[in-house]
Amino acid sequence: MAVNIRNLPDQELFYGHKACPGCGGAIVARLALKVLGERTCVVLPASCISSVTTIYPQMSFFVNSLTSSFPASAAVLSGMAAACKAQGLEDVTVMGLAGDGGTIDIGLQALSGAVERGDNFLYICYDNEAYMNTGIQRSGLTPYGAWTTTTPTNNNAVGETKFKKNLFEIMMAHRIPYCATASVAYPNDLLNKIAKAKEIKGPKVLHVQAPCPTGWGHGSEKTVEIGKLAVQTGLWYLAEYENGKVTLNYKPKEFKPVKEYFTKQRRFCHLTEEDFRVIEEHRDNEWKILENFLRKDE
């Protein structure tokens, strides 16, 4: 059955956290547990989400939770999933919830291994596009042009000079049963992807864009607006990969100018028209690659 906001349970399994107002990561945690329910074990690496949810006695996860070492989340998930299987615990969802650095940088080796083994877990990367917990340092998912404390913008520097790694394609290359991209600004899409992932056996990976008012430099009431703009400008897409097929879940009729997205965030305030051109070119190329995947599946 399709999930929507109306038929979600009232039960809250994630509340009372100390995240910044408007935190995209906290939205991901709350919505995921709405769908997954009480029989869930959560593994978190060092991250914002573990720091703001595990302050005794205000524990925000009302399910079992574990803060692992930074590189190890997916390896811990593997052990839990294999042990659950060995004990016949079939109704338990083993879920990882990790930030972008904990997933795409230091956590990538463990994630690749866990996915390759085919262990039965759901891994959600909430992507706020930098190491926010240690005070805004760039990660492999920081977008081109973003200011962070390790990609300074003094002397006309552009900030981050690399484009985001594509976790979706990295996971597709593992021929994983299910992986998808999503955004906190599109909760119905996100909820349905989590619900679908819950029913599939084997490794599932969701890459969810999660705006961060503190690190991105926008008002805490703008999280959804910024998240929507990322999708409407084509800088982020909502897609899924299942049974070897790629599906696009939302296609903007035409892209909004990227400038609309960038000028609303302090981390991009130094960017020039030339930078916008470079970014649009990269965006168009990414869409070409995506459309190739879509065509192959027709």
Binding site: A46, T67, S69, F70, P71, G101, D105, I106, L108, Y131, T134, G135, Q137, R138, G140, T149, T150, T151, P152, N154, N155, A157
Partner: protein, 378 residues
Amino acid sequence: MTVNKARLIQGNQACAEGAIAAGVTFFAGYPITPSTEIAEIMSEELPKIGGKFIQMEDEIGSMACILGASLTGKKVLTASSGPGISLKQEAIGYASMAEIPCVIVNVQRLGPSTGGPTSTAQGDIMQARWGTHGDHPIIALCPATVKECFDLTVKAVNFAEKFRTPVYVLLDEIIGHMREKVILPNKEDIEIVDRKRPSTKPGDYKPYRTDESLIPEMADYGTGYKWHVTGLHHDETGFPTTKPALVEKLMNRLMSKLDKYKEEILLWQEESTDDAEVLIVAYGSTARSALDAVEKLREAGIKVGLFRPITIWPFPEEALARLAANVKGVIVPEMNYGQLYLEVERICKDKCKTSGLFKANSEPITPDEIIAKVREVL
């Protein structure tokens, strides 16, 4: 000559500036509290002088990256803390074995494991000595002031270059994040040491051939000298060997090369030790509390002195033994459960009683706690 202005800066910043003053032009690192400021400063400052800052994908990568850069002739630095230093251990051993100059700043936080990222500690003393597997040479320097963070980082870079060894600068979180007034030296007053480059032509170069200096000449990768670097035991050609005699020759040289230079490497401070009846052995931020305790006890007429090892590894054993022979007791306050205490106790055991004052709960050891301990021992 220009006189530099007094500035109010953090220990971490002094470390970064010391590294640059010593000629470091390459930094690879990864964000981790409480050392992140060093990476942040390097990301801003190194490009200005044509240097290179790389934020790596993890701690293992950061350590391995600076080894690659060092082999091309760069002076290199990384900085980390707690779990990050644990992850770096294999590559630190590699640097010891392959004799690759590099400096690792460890801003110690409370462990074990994730422990307390923003809490101070001195729990990595034994890790600095024995963190990587196998017998290996290592140098560790331990500043107690912001100015010393600058000076000892310069020294660490020089030691790494001269002795071809990894060198730790062991801060604790208090020293790393504390701000103090400092007047940093002028560039021309800073001694800079470069690694010994080959005196032979490329064809005659044997990368691990040594004379009585015990330190082999090091050719930069990419300059026509072709040589192989390995973490395996190797002979003077650099290629692996399993012959016991050659393995032993290598290990004996590695384990004795720092001994030969200990007069230069061993640094310590003595305060009011001449007539002391009780000796406090303290380092890092704890030495500041100890110094305060010494002053207060002296005012009260109690004869107490401070021995502060600045070089923690190798440990200034003879200097301590000399002082221990003339006191009733030695007290070792440290923010761990007694790591350097073991070393001090070993050195002093035939001379006087050694007592520990240990605290590892994220709070610093106070002068009053040290004073109470001294009164207890007397």
